[in-house]
Amino acid sequence: MTIDPASRHPHSVSQHRHRILRRVGTVVSYAGLSLIALLFLFPFFWMVSNAVRSNAEVMAVPVRIFPEEYHWGTFVEALVSLPFGIFVLNSFVVACGVTAIVIAVSCLSAYAFARLKFPGREGLLLTYLSTLMIPQVMLVIPLFLIVSKLGWINTYHGMILPVAFSSFGTFLLRQFILGIPKDLDEAAMMDGASRLRILVTVIVPLAMPAIGLLSLFTFIAQWKSFLWPLIATSGVEKATLPLGLTLFQTQQGTAWNYIMAGATISMLPGVVLAIVLQRVIYKGITVSSGFGGR
C-alpha cells in the first residue's frame, strides 16, 4: 500500500492551521480579558497612587500616572489627625453589631419556619419575604422619626437596630435548614434536648456554611452602607467610613490625598474578604441565584 502524499498532506496542513488558529484565539482571548481586567482595576491603582502623593501633586496639572514622591505617611496621618480612625471604629461597631443581631435573630426565626408547626406559618413567611421589595428610602423617613423620637440619633443602637431585622437571613437560613435531615432533631429530642438546645448544638453547627455566608454578606452590606448612617448621625462623632469620606470632601475639599487614603482604608476589608473567600462567595452567589428558578 502506498501512501499518497497529495491526499494526506492538505489534511494535516489544515489540522495544523486549525490548531495554530485555536492557540492564537486563546492568546487573544486572555489578552483581551486581561486588558479589560486591568482597566477595571485601574481606579484602585489611581486611589492608592494618589493617596501617597502630596496634595499639591494630586492637583498638579499635567497628570502623572505614578507619583513623583511617595508619602506613605498619609495613611497614618489620615487615621490619626483626621478622625478616620474613629470612622473605622464606628464602621466596625455598626457592621459587627448588625451582623451579630442578624445571625441570632435569623437562626431563631429560620428554625421556627423550617421545623416548627404553628398556625399561620406560611402566611407569616410570605409577609416577611414581601418586605424584601420595599425600597430603603421609603423606610428611611419614618425610621428617622422613630429613632429621633426615641432620642437615638448619634447612638450606636440607633444606627444598628433599625437595619438589623431584614428578613433575607431568615429566608436564606430556612432554605438551608430544610435540607438538614429531621432525624437529627428527633434523635436529640429523644435524648430530652429542648428546641433551643437542638438549634444551638445540632442545627447551627451544620448550618455553618449558610451562616458564614450570611455573616459575610451582612457585614459587607453594612460596611458599605451610607444612607442610614447619613440620616441616623450628625457630625463626625458617630460617622462611619463612607460618611467620613463625604464629610471631608466638603469640609476640607482640597485634602484629596487624605480622602484617597481614607477610601483605601475603607476598601481594605472588602478586598481582603473578596480575595480570601472567593470560593465561598462564588458558591453563595450560585446558591442565591437559585431563587431565580434554577
Binding site: 486563546t26 483581551g32 480579558l33 481586567a37 477595571f40 482595576l41 481606579p43 484602585f44 489611581w46 486611589m47 494618589n50 497628570v63 435573630v105 426565626s109 421556627a112 416548627l116 408547626k117 404553628f118 398556625p119 399561620g120 406560611e122 416577611y128 418586605t131 421589595m133 420595599i134 425600597p135 428610602v137 421609603m138 423606610l139 428611611v140 423617613i141 419614618p142 428617622f144 422619626l145 422613630i146 437596630l161 431585622f165 435540607g179 428546641r195 438549634l199 459587607i220 451610607f226 463612607p242 460618611l243 469620606l245 463625604t246 470632601q249 480622602i259 484617597m260 477610601a263 475603607s266 474578604l273 472567593q278 462564588y282 452567589i285 450560585t286 441565584s289 431565580g292 428558578g293 434554577r294
Partner: protein, 324 residues
C-alpha cells in the same frame, strides 16, 4: 434548589409531606380559647425577636410612610391631613418632578441594558477560559465589595477638572467637556461608575450559571453541526435564562433606587441633570424637611418598582425557559 413551600400543614398531620394540603389562607373564626400547643408556644418565642423587629422597623414605618404622604408635615409644624395634595402637586405643579422622573428612568434603562450586556459578555468570556476563571471573577467582583461612596470618591477625583479623565479626553482629541460639569454628560459618568461598582455581581452569577450548563448538551449540539454562535443562542442562553431573569429583576430594583453615587459625585447636578428619585427624596426630606412630600415621592418610587417587577414577571413567559 428547594422550592418555597406554600403548604399549610393541617393540624395533627404527621411528617408525611405528600399529604399536605394546598396553600390556603386560613380565615376561620377564632377557635374557643385553649392552651396553645407547646410547639406553637416555642415557635412564638423563637419568632418574637424577628417579629418585634419586623413590626417596629418595617411594618410601622411602611404604614407611617403612607400616612405621612397624605400630610404636609415639615418636621417642626404639627402635621395636618392634606389628602392627595402631595400627589397632585407632584404630577401637576412641581416642574422638577418630571425632570427627576425622566432622569430616573433614563438612568435605570441605560444602566440596566449596559449591566446585562456587559455582565453577560464578561461571563461568557470567562467561562470560555480553561484556566484562571477564579482570578477574573475576583477582579470583576472586587468593586461590589467596596463601599460605593469610596468608589464614587475615587471616580470623582478621576473626573475632577483637569484631572485624569480630562487629560485622556484631550490626548485622544475627543473634544468632550468635563463630564461632571456638563449637564448632558454627568449622567453618563454616574452610569459608568455604577456599572463599574456593581457589574461584578451579575458577572459572577451568570458565569456560575454558564458553568452549570451540562457539557453533554453542548457536545450533542456540536455533533449535530451547531457552531459556537448557535450553541450560545440556542442552548446556553435559554438554559441560563432563569438566572438572567433573576439578575435583571434585582438590577432593575436597585437601579431605580440609585443614591450613593449621585450624593457623592454630583449632588443631583449640574442643575438637576442627575437628580433621580432616590436623591430627590433625600433632598426634599432631609434638606428641605418636607417629610410629607418626600414620603409621597417614596411611594411613587415603590409603585415604579412594583410595576417594573410585575412587568418583568409578565414578560418572562416570552423568554425565560425553565427545565421543569
Amino acid at each position: 434548589m428547594r422550592q418555597l413551600s406554600l403548604r399549610q400543614d393541617l393540624p395533627r398531620m404527621e411528617e408525611d409531606m405528600s399529604q399536605s394540603a394546598v396553600a390556603e389562607v386560613s380565615l376561620q373564626p377564632a377557635q374557643p380559647r385553649r392552651f396553645l400547643k407547646p410547639e406553637t408556644q416555642t415557635a412564638m418565642l423563637f419568632l418574637l425577636p424577628s417579629f418585634l423587629g419586623f413590626m417596629v422597623f418595617m411594618a410601622v414605618p411602611i404604614v407611617a410612610s403612607l400616612a405621612l404622604s397624605f400630610t404636609n408635615w415639615q418636621l417642626i409644624s404639627t402635621p395636618s391631613f392634606v389628602g392627595f395634595q402631595n400627589y397632585i402637586r407632584l404630577f401637576t405643579v412641581d416642574p422638577a418632578f418630571y425632570t427627576v422622573l425622566r432622569n430616573t428612568l433614563f438612568f435605570a434603562v441605560e444602566y440596566l441594558a449596559l449591566n446585562i450586556i456587559v455582565s453577560l459578555t464578561l461571563a461568557v468570556w470567562i467561562s470560555s477560559l480553561k484556566r484562571g476563571k477564579a482570578i477574573f471573577r475576583v477582579i470583576f467582583f472586587l468593586p461590589t465589595f467596596t463601599p460605593t461612596i469610596a468608589a464614587s470618591v475615587v471616580w470623582l477625583l478621576i473626573f475632577t477638572p483637569d484631572g485624569l479623565a480630562d487629560t485622556i479626553i484631550r490626548a485622544l482629541g475627543l473634544g468632550l467637556p468635563n463630564f461632571l460639569l456638563s449637564s448632558t454628560w454627568a449622567m453618563q459618568a454616574v452610569v459608568l461608575v455604577t456599572l463599574w461598582a456593581n457589574v461584578g455581581y451579575n458577572v459572577v452569577m451568570f458565569n456560575a450559571a454558564l458553568d452549570l450548563v451540562p457539557k453533554h448538551y453542548l457536545e450533542a449540539a456540536t455533533i449535530d453541526g451547531a457552531n459556537a454562535w448557535q450553541r450560545f443562542w440556542r442552548i446556553r442562553l435559554p438554559l441560563i435564562s432563569p438566572t438572567i431573569f433573576f439578575g435583571t429583576v434585582m438590577t432593575a430594583i436597585t437601579s431605580l433606587q440609585v443614591f450613593d453615587e449621585i450624593f457623592a459625585m454630583t449632588r443631583g447636578g449640574p442643575g438637576s441633570a442627575t437628580a433621580t428619585l432616590g436623591f430627590a427624596i433625600y433632598q426634599k426630606g432631609f434638606t428641605n424637611f418636607q417629610m410629607g412630600y418626600a414620603s409621597a415621592l417614596a411611594w411613587v418610587m415603590f409603585v415604579m418598582i412594583m410595576a417594573l417587577t410585575i412587568l418583568q414577571f409578565h414578560m418572562q413567559r416570552k423568554w425565560v425557559h425553565y427545565d421543569d
